[in-house]
Every structure is written in C-alpha cells, then in structure tokens.
Amino acid sequence: MALPKYTEPHYRVWHYTYLFICGSVFFFLIAPLFVIFPLSFNAEEFLVFSEGMKRLDPDAFSLRWYEDMIYGTKNPWGAAAKNSFIIAIFATLGSIVLGTVAALGLSSRHMPYKGLIMATLISPMIVPLIISGVAIFFFMAKVGLAATHLGIILAHIILGTPFVVITVTATLSGFDHSVTRAAASLGSNPVNTFMKITLPLILPGVISGGLFAFVTSFDEVVVVLFLAGLENTTIPIQMWTGLREQLSPTILAVATCLIVLSVLILVTAELIRRRSERLRGINR
C-alpha cells in the first residue's frame, strides 16, 4: 500500500493513522494468544512474568506444568481429553451424515417448504446457547440420557448439523446437476452416483462443515455444563472449573496445546478452502 508521490500531506497523515489503527486492532486480536505460550513454561507457580523470565534466564523456564498436565492426579486432563475426543469425533460423524443427507434434499428444487425447513434445521445455531442448553437438558433428562456420553454426543450433533447443512448447501448451489444425470443415464443407481460423483465434488464443503462441527463440539461448554456428570467431564469443563476456582499454570499448558490444535485446524481449513477455490477456478 505504498502511496503515490503526489499524495497531499493531510491525506498522507490520514493514511498512516489508518494503518496504525489497523495494526493496533490486529495486535489486539492476536496478542492475547501469545501471552499464554511463555507463561506456560514458567518455573514458578505465579501467572506473571518472573524476574528470571524477563532476563531470559534458562532456569526460570521449565516443563513442570506440562508434566503436571500429563501425570498430575489432581486434574484428570487425560480422561477429559479422551472424553472430549470421543464425543467430538462421534458428534462430527453424526453431524456430517445427517447434515449432508439433509442438504442434498434441501438443494433439490422439488423441495417443498424450503424456507421453513431450513429455518428449523439451522435454528440451533441462531438460538442463544444458554437456551439450547436448557432445552436439550430437559429432553435428555426426560429420556434418561443426562450425564451419559450418548446424551452429550446427541446434543453436539444438534449444535453441529447447522454448520454442515449451511456449508454443504452452499457447495451444492454451484453444483452442476448434469453430471449426476449423465451418471444416471449411464446406468448408475442413485447411491453409486452419490458415492462416485456427487460426494467427491462436494467433499470440501462436507469437510469444512465437519471441521466447524468438530470445533463446536470440542469447545462447547454451556450445554455440557448442564448435561455432564462426573464420568463425562470434557476439556472445556475441566478448564471452566479450573478457571473458576484457581488459575493454575497447568491450565496454561493445556491452553497452549489447544492453541497448537487450533493452528492445525486453521491450516486444514485454509488448505481445503484454497483447493475448492482452485477447483472452482477450473470450472469457470
């Protein structure tokens, strides 16, 4: 964004002010995440930078909080991580299957009452989480699924499907239906057509919807707070209790791991986006 030479001085000043404002906002967005990194390697128990850390003294840094995270008995992070992954993976699979199938129906031009049904399907995304939490808790308590893995997985499928429905219908809106017709005219049955033709083409949408569903489930606290018993604490629940009672450096170690995980997810999502953009570019 270099300015041309003939730019008037007051506009020049404004331009640099604008860049400064943007820089500050970017800093505001990203900087808080980087505070966690160094503090999670703190050798002391306090959540401030010690004198030694400021001098970059190697003795002031340690991995003890990571050890505590893995071997510590006070906070069972391992069990929480296991629960979190089990729940998130099954919830993602459920959301993908239900959401993709529904999106196929929704993007058919024969679909009756499209607007109303779409609104119903994405309502869990629109309604504030706290209300969803109350409603889902009432349902799970009634059918006896409160404080079970299955109950939480079902709850997360409810919260995750809207993302899959939205991304897959968006992908299908640019979908050329003549290819499925061509497959049908060559004698393929609908299931085969879907698996061999449609699915590979809409896969980017399915995966990015699935990523949204995964993150939603993996990061979900509000509904789990209502549903979870002692047997199904997840990482967010464990962090929630930790943050409420006492902010310990072990939490920061966990947080660092979660940031690394989100970097991985971000990279995956970005690669998928670029791939699908490239594919669309070829089509045009």
Partner: protein, 417 residues
C-alpha cells in the same frame, strides 16, 4: 379446458401433464425423505423441548392437583363473600388427603406465596382437624383462626385454580401478583432482573459497536491489500476464531489481573501509580474488553466477504469525477458494504446477548448478564420453570432482533465467511 385433442400423450398413453405431475410428486417425496431424518431429529430433541420450556414456565398444576375437590366446589362460588359450606367441606377433604400423604406442608408453602399467613393457619388446621366432628365443616374451620373468616384468603385459593400462571414471567420483569391479584412492581431496590436485562442489552449494544468500529477498518485493509499480505493478516483473524473460547478468556484473565501485563504497562508509562493499580477484571470493563476481542472475528469475516466483491474501479471512477477520498468513501463504498455491516452486527449482537462463559469468568458481580441468571436458576436454585421463563423471554428478544434485521437488510444477505 374444452379441447381434449390438444393433450399430449406419453408412449404409455398417459397424458403428459399427469405423468409429469406424478414424476414431480415423486421427486418431492424423494427430496423430503432425504431431509426427514435430520428434521425429525431436530424437532424431537430440540424444538419440542423448547416448547416444553414454555409449558414448564407457565405450569401451575401442582396446586391444581392438590385441591381438586375444592376447585370444583369453588366453580359456583362468586368470590365476593365467604364461600358456602360445600367449599369448606371439600377443602377439608382435600386437606385430609394431603395430610395423609404428608404433602400439606407443600400446600402451605405454595399458598403462602399467594397470601402471607397461610402457612401458620394451615398448620393449625392440621393440628386441630383430628378432633373435628362429622359435618358442619365451615363453622369448625372458621373457629380455628380468624383468617379463615377473612374472605381474602379464600379468594387467594380461588386465584390458584387455573392450571397455568404468568407469575414466572412477571418475576422475570420484577413484577408480581399482589394479594388482590393485581400486577404490581417490586420495590425499587429489589428490581434485580430489570437491571440485568438492561445491562445485557447495554453490553450487547456496545460490544457490537466496538466490534464494528474495530472490524470495519481491518476488513477494509484485508479486502484491499494484495493477496500475499492479506492472507498473512487473515491469520490474525482466523486463529482467534478457531481457538477455544476458554483459552481466549483465560488469556484475558492473565492480561487483566492486577499484577498483569496491561497493568504493568500502565504503570510503566506512568498512567497509574504502582500501588494504585485499577481493577480491570471482575467488572464490566473485563466483560467489554474480552467479549469484544472474542466476537471481533464474527464482525470481520462477513464484512470482508462483502468488501471483497466491491470493485476498486468504482472508487477510482468516483475520484476521477472530482470526489474527495472522503466523499467517494461515504457515497460509494460505504453504502455497498451495508449488507456486510448488517450481517456482522446481527451475528455479534445475537452472540453477545446470549453470552454466558466469558461474563461468568471475567464479569464478577457487576458484569454478569441475563444468561448467568438463567444458569444460576438451572443449577443452583433449581427453579427450572423460572429459568425456562427467562430463557423464553431472551429467545423472544432474539427473534425480534431477527425480524427487525430481516425487514431492514434481508436475512438472505448473511454470508458465513
């Protein structure tokens, strides 16, 4: 529709119109069957339970089931003077059943809410009724306490007869039914819910405003920079977006604590004295700062996707026609970004209005919002019907916002990144 000869027939001899309709219907059913599993799932596990929240919030059947005979007898009573013998007799009969099941205490508590002093006289009735003689219930009950001779107490019982009540909704707005059945406000110093509603609106409004003020410039920068720079800067928006909410809240708790880095910085530049560090967490400041940072990506992404589609030649055309940079921006660029502004503001406002986790952690007492109150009643006081009532009031508010948005901008203009 006179000529039959014009009808085109298919090879099977069926009119084409009929055949086509049949095929369309088949397609319709096929499409609907695909949607069916998810639709049923969402309706059963989600939409019905929200409906159940409603029935729970107005449910007042507990007392209706406790005093079935009394309410039956009261149907013919006009409620102006003391009820007839029949009512007294049925009340005594109902009360005896309750006493046998040891539920008379519950009745006392419930009626005490309706009119003070019920608990005492019911306890007295329970003690004395063993010595009651057969028949003449009215006189014997009235003997026990002078309140039984007061028609207001019988009117209070009659008021509880309907199986539903709006009391929980009134409570959510700091109002209640007084002893005469009128809707009145609670005393000024006890209007906690109204404060919470206003605070929730205020926080949601200002967080949306801050997000807009901060998000608009960076979305513009991202949309106008060359791809290789903007992709890099986009990470600054996307990384927080994908990072766990709790992680981000935790980092704000570290930053904003009294010995935290922000305060260190303020001391360093001499803004505050070292021994007089301001409290930035556990109050509204903390809620504002943390919520703005957490919700900012939801503002930037829709703005960015709209700005990306605006051709730079429009601005150039405006400038070549003699517009100053400000005029071209205000007259050309800004109006084109309105769908993005609408989508971003709607998203942020609705997320903010139902926010729970961040206010609960960094909000302290003066920063908690209405969702915290709902959670409190769900988990601590176990007043689920009240939690349901407040949840539905919040939901109504959200739907009103959607409706307004749909009128102003149109819901189809929402883009998800």
């Amino acid at each position: 529709m006179s000529s039959e000869t014009q009808k085109i027939l298919t090879t099977d001899g069926i009119p084409l119109e009929v055949s086509l309709k049949k095929a369309e219907k088949k397609n319709k059913i096929k499409a609907f069957l695909l949607v069916c599993p998810l639709l049923l799932f969402i309706i059963i596990t989600y939409i019905f339970p929200i409906g159940e929240m409603f029935s729970r919030s107005i449910d007042d059947r507990m007392i209706t089931n406790m005093l079935p005979k009394t309410f039956k007898a009261m149907e013919t009573w006009d409620g102006k003077e003391l009820p007839p013998e029949e009512v007294f007799a049925s009340f005594l009969a109902d009360f005896r059943v309750l006493a046998e099941n040891k539920e008379h205490g519950k009745l006392g508590q419930r009626l005490n809410k309706e009119k003070n002093g019920f608990n005492t006289i019911l306890k007295k009735l329970w003690r004395k009724m063993k010595k009651f003689e057969e028949g003449n219930a009215k006189e014997q009950i009235m003997e026990i306490h002078k309140r039984f001779r007061d028609v207001k107490y019988w009117q209070a019982i009659k008021r509880t007869a309907p199986p539903y009540t709006m009391a929980k909704y009134l409570k959510g707005m700091d109002m209640y039914y007084d002893e005469d059945g009128n809707v009145v406000q609670v005393e000024e110093d006890r209007r906690i819910h109204r404060i919470l509603w206003l605070r929730t609106l205020e926080v949601a409004f200002f967080v949306t405003l801050f997000c807009f003020l901060m998000g608009y410039p960076i979305a513009h920068l991202l949309a106008t920079l060359p791809m290789k720079y903007s992709n890099l800067l986009m990470i600054c928006v996307l990384l927080p977006f994908w990072t766990s909410l709790l992680v981000r809240t935790a980092s704000w708790m570290i930053l904003l604590q009294q010995q935290g880095i922000v305060n260190d910085f303020f001391v360093f530049i001499g803004l505050v004295a070292d021994d007089n560090r301001p409290e930035m967490m556990y109050n509204k400041t903390g809620t504002y700062v943390a919520m703005t940072q957490i919700l900012l990506p939801f503002m930037v992404l829709p703005l960015y996707s709209v700005m990306k589609t605006i051709s730079p030649s429009l601005m150039r055309a405006g400038k070549s026609l003699g517009g100053t940079p400000f005029v071209t921006f205000w007259k050309i660029y800004f109006p084109l970004t309105i769908p993005g502004i609408g989508a971003g503001c709607l998203l942020v406002f609705i997320l903010a209005i139902g926010y729970y986790i961040t206010p609960a952690l960094v909000g302290g007492a003066s920063g908690t919002l209405i969702s915290n109150q709902i959670a409190y009643h769900m988990k601590a006081t176990l007043d689920w019907s009240f939690a349901s009532a407040m949840g539905l009031m919040l939901l109504t508010g959200v739907l009103v916002v959607y409706w307004i948005y749909n009128k102003l901008v149109g819901i189809d203009n929402i883009k998800l990144g």
